[in-house]
């Protein structure tokens, strides 16, 4: 969604894609405000600057025909900036995971069907949502998960799965909301409990809620599972963070 908004503001979408984006904006109104901020930024910068209509990398380098004096001055400037940067730089804390592997999505045990026992309607929906997620149709998958939210038996599963999908599309606020509503301790399998706390920790970090991230990282560590070491390292980094 964030990338589509970026493309829209830069005029890189076709009209069909534009309509598809507006449909998503109706669904997730918080991104409408996000789009407006980007649009305002673009206007603001157009007022103050002349944008360079080239990318970086080779084009920019080959466009440069500056004499050697300018090169030397630039090198000096880079050195000075680097020196200042070294003095003032405070490391940023970023999420440990770039994305969550979709194999962590909880799906029904389909192997049962081979024993002639058919899936229930809800299990069939979960299975469909899982397949859609793998196929990359995230919006439809989330729609299915949402339709099962009121079902007490599947609520935890669908919230957990939604959290993963939101995280992977960069919608970290909704990922936090979904993982937060998941009763992590209610999972019968301790692995899911630990993952639930760990994914929530990373989501908190993405939206810079460091205090809460610290709490959930401690809960991850207390689960004493596969993420314990990662949680330890992260907690140490968080200790140094102001």
């Amino acid at each position: 969604m964030i990338r589509s908004i970026d493309d829209y503001v830069n005029g890189k979408l076709g009209m069909q894609e534009v309509d598809a984006l507006w449909i998503q904006l109706l669904r997730y109104p918080e991104y409408y405000r996000y789009l407006k901020t980007q649009a305002a930024l673009k206007k603001q910068y157009r007022k103050n600057h002349t944008p360079h209509n080239i990318g970086l990398g080779r084009k920019l380098i080959s466009a440069s025909t500056a004499p050697w004096i300018a090169t030397a001055a630039a090198l000096l400037l880079v050195f000075l900036l680097y020196s200042i940067f070294r003095i003032t730089y405070t490391p940023q804390i970023n999420p440990v995971m770039n994305e969550i592997n979709l194999l962590h999505l909880i799906s029904p045990d389909v192997t049962r069907s081979s024993t002639q026992e058919s899936l229930s309607e809800e299990e069939q929906l979960l299975q469909n949502a899982f397949s859609l997620s793998i196929a990359g149709d995230i919006n439809r998958a989330i729609g299915i998960y949402k339709s099962l939210e009121e079902d007490e038996h599947y609520r935890n599963t669908v919230l957990f799965n939604q959290g993963i999908l939101y995280y992977n599309v960069g919608n970290y606020s909704d990922a936090v909301s979904a993982f937060n509503q998941t009763a992590c301790r209610d999972f019968s399998d301790n692995l899911y409990t630990e993952q639930c706390f760990w994914f929530l920790t990373n989501s908190y970090i993405a939206i810079e809620e460091f205090e809460r991230a610290r709490e959930t990282a401690q809960q991850t560590r207390a689960s004493n599972g596969i993420y314990r070491n990662d949680a330890d390292v992260l907690l140490k980094r968080l200790e140094k963070h102001p």
Binding site: M15, P29, L35, K36, N53, E99, G170
Partner: protein, 181 residues
Amino acid sequence: MDYLKLITAIKNGKQKELDTLYTEAFDILCGYLRSTMRANLPDAEDCAQHAIMMTIKRIQNNAIKEPESIYSYLIQSAKNRYLRVRFENNRSNYQDNMEPYIPVEEQTDYLVTEEEQLALENCLEKLPSDSKSFIDFWLTYPNSQARDVAEKFGISVNNVWIKKHRIIKKLTDCIEKKIGE
């Protein structure tokens, strides 16, 4: 807009919740018509209201089979209504091949009010210098790729998006706060 909340609010007559959802959808539909087709404000408001009322009626009549289709129905309905209004207003000059949309690169220019633009200007001043230079770079080179930005700032591509998301979110919150003051 959460369609489950919308359906529940309509069916249970929860007026307060319905008002909130209505306002949200109304603003976005007006934004859509004003930016993509440069509708004037009165026409955009009329068409947005019409689209929402039609959708509510369909929900009340149980005519929406797939709840997910509510969003595209709203957009389509607002668009059709606006094209109809435009046709009625320009009947004498109407041509079948008239392009209903303005060029995509110009569309978002019509989204922001002067008040919002001013608020952004103030919010930008409060942004830490590293965030300012990050956004400045991104906007100065609009065609650069996330990987270029990642290389320039010595961070991973994923963190480029996270950093950008955080900054825009901060600015969005700041604008809202300023307008609410």
